[in-house]
Each structure stands twice: as structure tokens, then as C-alpha cells.
Amino acid sequence: MTMDNPRPPPRRRFSVALGSRELKGLFWQVLVVGIAVAVIGFLWSNTVTNLSARRITTGFAFLGREAGMPIADSLLSYNPRDSYLWAFVVGIANTLRVAVIGIVLATVLGTLIGISRLSANWLLSRLAAVYVETLRDIPLLLQLLFWYVLMQALPAARAAWRPIDGVFLSNRGLIVPSIPIDTPQIWVLGAAVLGMIVFYAVQRYLVSQQMRDGQPRPAWPYAAVLIFVLPALLSWWLGVSWTVAWPELRGFNFVDGLTLAPEYFALLIALVTYTSAFIAEIVRSGIQSVPSGQWDAANALGLRRSFMLRQIILPQALRVIVPPMTSQYLNLTKNSSLAVAIGYQDVVSIANTTLNQTGQAIEAIALIMAVFLTISLSISFFMNWYNARIALVER
């Protein structure tokens, strides 16, 4: 039979038979991965040789040793006899202290300035524009050094500025009155946090009820009872005292009150003002992205201004605002590593000292990277979750 067939089957090129696309793809992948592996292998073997030549031992065993470095300003209790591991933990706490407070303040300030830029008041909107343009176009490190120099130029503790009673600003930093928090107070605060969680559930229930019958149900009485009244009753019942510790100048230094060290304060101001300029632009573009027809429609319905902003404009603006805001939060957190320039001991600065003391460069930098990757991933995870919640669901 085959003999009868006058035409031989068409000859196909080998590559076509295998699918030239797949083959090409395979070739490129092998090439790129091969190069990557070769480069990493080269660096790795050099590193191993260099480490043994310099008699540097690798591994994280050094973390258990006594750190011996002073940490001036920390949330957690620390003394130089503690281990490197604990020093790192203290550093992470310091980084988080700057980042979390910085994010909150920058969001508030940035939103205010972003809204001011859209104000009908010409002067206010111009001033906000100048603020944004100036702060965005000067390197953060320069601003940080500038604030730090200003902090150091403040008068000494004895001649401290007192903008309001109980608040002192001197070259020792900002000293504010504080409320000492101890076990009984923590119980009351815990009750308030519990109240917030319960209130969140209650609010979801109220919204679902409103979705069913369209009747608005005010949530604020629940909030007042759960978050304020019940904890207050608990506090009264347990007899917890909420005395304010007023700072006082005694000798050459302050006693009582809460001290924000100059390094911390300068870092916080620099991060907050710098980031707020970027946040202001994000907020402005978010609000402007809401079509003007939405404003007109809300006006036509005769809605109150606050209601209109809260229920109509903001939910739409947030969709535009949240993704870029996430990267600003990440930037602020990463930028807090500039602390090393003015000697605030965040995790980077402590890792740097460790590196100089022990020579464990690879481990110290690996720890910095691990810490920041964890923080970055957590922030973007949370913000992505939030973004998915508020995103527009189409069909």
C-alpha cells in the first residue's frame, strides 16, 4: 500500500516537530538560569574562600553573645550586657515605633494638606501646593539632617521652651506629660480594645440589617457604650487611678513625663513631613478622580456635606487612593533606616554596629533584609486585603 502512494509524507524540520516555540523557550530558560546559577556559584565560592582566609566563622551563633553596645533610647528594657539577639529585638521595636507612629501622623497630615490643596480658599491651596512641591524636591536625608541640627540648636534643658504648660522642648528632646501604664490600667485598656472588636461585629450586623430593609440604624450609641462607658465603669469599679505624670526640671535633667529623644523626634518629623507631601498628592488625585457628576447628584439630593463626603465621595476616592498609599507606607518604613545617619538606634543602625563589632557582615545584612522583607510583606498583605475589600465589584 505504501508503495502505491506517489507522494512521500512532508518532511518536517526537527524543531518544528518539537514545537519551535517550546524549544526556544527552553533554550532561553536554560541560558538565563544557567547564568544566574553560575554567577551565584562564583560569588559563593569566592565568599567561602575569603571567609576562611580571614578566619571569619559564619552562622548565627554570635547572636547569643553579649552585645556590649549602649542603646540610648528604647521601648524595651535593655542593658549592654544583654545578647546581640535582644539588641536586634530592641532595634526592631525602635523601627516599628517610628514606622507605626510615622504612618499614622503622615496619613493625617497628608490628608489635611491634600484636602487643603483643593480648598476654595486660594491662599490655603497655594500654601499647600508650596508645601508639597518643596518637601518633595529635597532629599529626605538632607531634611533629616536639617531637623537634627535644629533639634541640637534648641536651648539646654534649663532654658527649655515651654510652648504649653507641661511640654518642654530642649536639646534633650521633647518632653510631654504621660500617664503611667501598669497592670490595672492595662486591664481597662484591654477592655476598650475588646469593646472595639465587639463594636466591629455589631456594626457589621447593623449594616446587614440596613441592607435588608433600608432603615438606617445609628451605630454611635453602641460605640460609646462599648468603647468608653463600659471600660470607664470597669476602671471605676476596680479603682484604677489615671494620674498624669507632669514632667519637672530637677537638677540638669527632667524627671517624669515621656521623653522623645532628639534623634527620634527629628527622624519622626522628617519622615512625617516628607511622606505627608506624597500622601497629599495621592489624596488630591483620589478626590479629583471622583466624577463631578457624583458631587452634582449628591447636591441635587440635598445631602448634608459630611454625609455626602462620607458616603459618596470617600468610598470612590479610596479605590484610587489605597494602592499608591500602600507604597508610601512601605517607603516610610524603609526610609526609617536613615536613622543610622543621626544615630537613632533602629534595626539598621544596630545591625551596622554589630557588623563592625563582630565582622559578621553577611548575617547582619541578612537580618536587616529579613526584617524589612517581613515588614514590607505584612504591610502589603494587609493593604491588599483592605484594597480587595473596598475595590469596585463589577458584575
Binding site: E133, L141, L142, A341
Partner: protein, 368 residues
């Protein structure tokens, strides 16, 4: 609180019947449209007036502009209530050029001018042609000759004597010149259908963007020597430059990826239908469109990146900010760091503001 304008497109003046003096009308609509607005205006004017007044008093009226060389006594006399601008003429050559040999400082100065000319020409849309790439190569080569010397009768100046503004411009420009093609490759890699290439690109971008630039710079300054064969030593500036290129590549890759996503599928399909190869398809059809989409965010990335080069201060490279910080170590002038920082901030501001204006104008024209 402040009121939000209902819609920026509608002229506000249209709401009231127009009457009277135009100046008064302008004041009324823009500053005193309501009672809270009027109060706000008055408060702002008071605060602004006080701020401007004290700045004028400190920075102009009581300031010391010039002193005899190395004599800061006049500045000390006004300390606290007057600025000491005299520190700028005293130190400006150090701030701008670092410890580059004093008599040869015309060379870095000329390099700075060449850089500025290069940026200016690159910003002209009419000149966006292939020749611009050759111009870049030629000018960057010329700048290297000027800075290093050793040929054409110029004396050799080693890299560790470079400093100040030229170093900032070199770090930023070379960072972009190499980071940009790297970013394009990584962006293409991230959208590739090949899993190994895609995951390598994702890993690279996420690792670099997830950590602070400071830690990359530490890595360049401390760990790089460990990575290299013994006896192979590369300059600190070059190490920092490599870290900055890697950093720029990751950030630019994300911007370019955004542009690639904005190119409609039909364009890819049309290119495939023409039978173009992967590289020709991207070079001729996809990338030109993608990059045109993202020019404004690219310029914004350039701005961020130009500012971020100042972080090399942390590993002790003499860029503009480091020379400024070093200039005020001199005990005689130590107390006048604010003035120096203002001077350097003004230099950074001019560069960044020019770029941001440019990005604004591009946004306006590309919107058409």
C-alpha cells in the same frame, strides 16, 4: 474646616452675579467666599506674615554676606538672630567639588555643565532620535576624560578625590543609563511566558524593592569585597554605583511593566501576525508604546532616584550632601550648618523641580 471646591472645572465666579471692582471680586471669591473662609484667610495671613517677617529678618536683614577669609567672627556676632551666608562664598568650592585638586576644579565644573546640557537636550521631544543615544555615549565619555584626566595633557585625578555635585550627577546619570535597559529586560522577563525567567525577575524586583536602599549600600560597601576573588579590588564609588544601578533597575522595571500592561493585546497579536520575532516585536511595536505611556511616572522615578543618591553619605562617598556635611566640621564654621543645608537643598530643589515641571508638561501634552 476647609471646604472642597465642588468641581474644579466650573469657574467659581460664575455662581455670583459679577459686579464691582475685579480685584475686590477676586478677593471675595477666592479668599472671603464665606465667614469660615474669611477667618481662615486672616489666620493664615497672620501666620504667613509672621513667618515671612522672621525669615526676612534672619535671612536678609540681619544676615552676614561676606567676611574676610577664614574669619567667622562677624557671623558669631549675629548668631541666633541673623544668617551667616558668608559661609557659602567661603566653602562653595569644597561643597561643589570636594577635595578635587583646587587648580583643576574647572574640570568638574565643566562636567556639571555638560551634564546639564545633556539633560536639557534629552528633554526636547524633537530630538528623540537614535542620534541622541550616540550623543549620550559621547558626552559621558568626554566627562570621564575630564574627570579622570591622564590624557590630552590633563593631570590624572584618582576617583577617591572626586566629590560634590559631579559625583551626585554621575551616580544618578550612570544609574539611569544602565538601570533603564536593565529595567526593560526585567519588565519583559516579568511578563514572559517562561516560568523560570518570570520567577527570577519577580524575585529580583521584590527582593530589591522590599529592602531599604541603605542596606543595599551597606552590602555594596561591606559584602562586595567578600564576593570577589581575593586581590580583585574595585573602587568604593563603583561599588556604590553598582548598588544604585541594581536599585534603579528594579524600580524602573515596575514602571515599565505598568506601561507594558497598558499596550492593548491587539498590538501584540498584530505583531505576531506579521511574523515578527520576540525581540523585533518588542523593540519595534510594544516598547515604544509602553514607554510613551509611562513617561510621566518615569520622570517621577528619576526624581526619587536623584534624591536617593544622597544616601551614599551613609557609606562615606563624597557626594554633594556629604561634602556639605564635611564642610561644616571646620570648628570656625560649625554653628552655621543650617545655612549650608539650605544652600544644598536649593541645588537639589532646582534639579528636582525642573524635572517635576517637565513631567507636568509631558502629562499635559500626552493627555491630548
Amino acid at each position: 474646616m476647609t471646604a472642597i471646591t465642588d468641581s474644579p472645572e466650573v469657574p467659581r465666579a460664575a455662581r455670583r452675579p459679577q459686579m464691582g471692582n475685579p480685584v475686590l471680586r477676586w478677593l471675595r471669591t477666592n479668599l472671603f467666599s464665606s465667614i469660615p473662609n474669611g477667618i481662615l484667610t486672616v489666620v493664615l495671613l497672620a501666620v504667613l506674615g509672621k513667618g515671612v517677617f522672621s525669615f526676612v529678618q534672619w535671612g536678609l536683614a540681619n544676615a552676614v554676606w561676606l567676611t574676610p577669609a577664614n574669619d567667622s567672627s562677624a557671623c558669631r556676632a549675629v548668631r541666633g538672630f541673623g544668617a551667616c551666608w558668608a559661609i557659602i562664598p567661603e566653602k562653595y568650592r569644597f561643597i561643589l567639588f570636594g577635595i578635587y585638586p583646587f587648580d583643576e576644579q574647572w574640570r568638574p565644573a565643566l562636567s556639571v555643565l555638560l551634564f546639564i546640557a545633556l539633560f536639557y537636550l534629552s528633554s526636547r521631544r524633537a530630538l528623540w532620535r537614535r542620534e541622541l543615544v550616540y550623543l549620550w555615549i559621547a558626552v559621558l565619555g568626554l566627562i570621564s576624560v575630564l574627570m579622570w584626566g591622564g590624557v590630552l595633557g590633563l593631570s590624572f585625578v584618582s576617583q577617591d578625590r572626586w566629590g560634590g555635585l559631579p559625583v551626585t550627577l554621575i551616580l544618578a546619570t550612570f544609574g539611569l543609563a544602565f538601570g533603564f535597559p536593565l529595567g526593560i529586560l526585567v519588565a519583559l522577563g516579568r511578563r514572559s511566558k517562561l516560568p523560570a525567567i518570570r520567577s527570577l525577575s519577580v524575585l529580583y524586583v521584590e527582593l530589591i524593592r522590599g529592602v531599604p536602599l541603605v542596606s543595599l549600600l551597606f552590602m555594596a560597601s561591606v559584602m562586595f569585597p567578600l564576593f570577589m576573588p581575593s586581590g580583585f579590588n574595585i573602587d568604593k564609588l563603583l561599588r556604590a554605583q553598582i548598588a544604585i544601578i541594581l536599585f534603579a533597575g528594579a524600580y524602573l522595571a515596575e514602571v515599565i511593566r505598568g506601561g507594558l500592561q497598558a499596550v492593548p493585546r491587539g498590538q501584540y497579536e498584530a505583531a505576531d501576525a506579521l511574523g515578527l520575532s520576540y525581540w523585533r516585536k518588542n523593540r519595534l511595536i510594544v516598547l515604544p508604546q509602553a514607554i510613551r505611556h509611562v513617561i510621566p511616572p518615569l520622570v517621577n522615578t528619576f526624581i526619587a532616584f536623584f534624591k536617593d543618591t544622597s544616601l551614599v553619605l551613609i557609606i562615606g562617598i563624597f557626594d554633594l550632601l556629604t561634602t556639605a556635611k564635611t564642610a561644616i566640621i571646620d570648628p570656625a564654621w560649625q554653628q552655621f550648618s543650617v545655612e549650608v543645608y539650605i544652600f544644598v537643598a536649593a541645588i537639589y530643589f532646582v534639579f528636582c523641580f525642573a524635572m517635576s515641571r517637565y513631567s507636568r508638561s509631558l502629562e499635559a501634552t500626552s493627555g491630548r
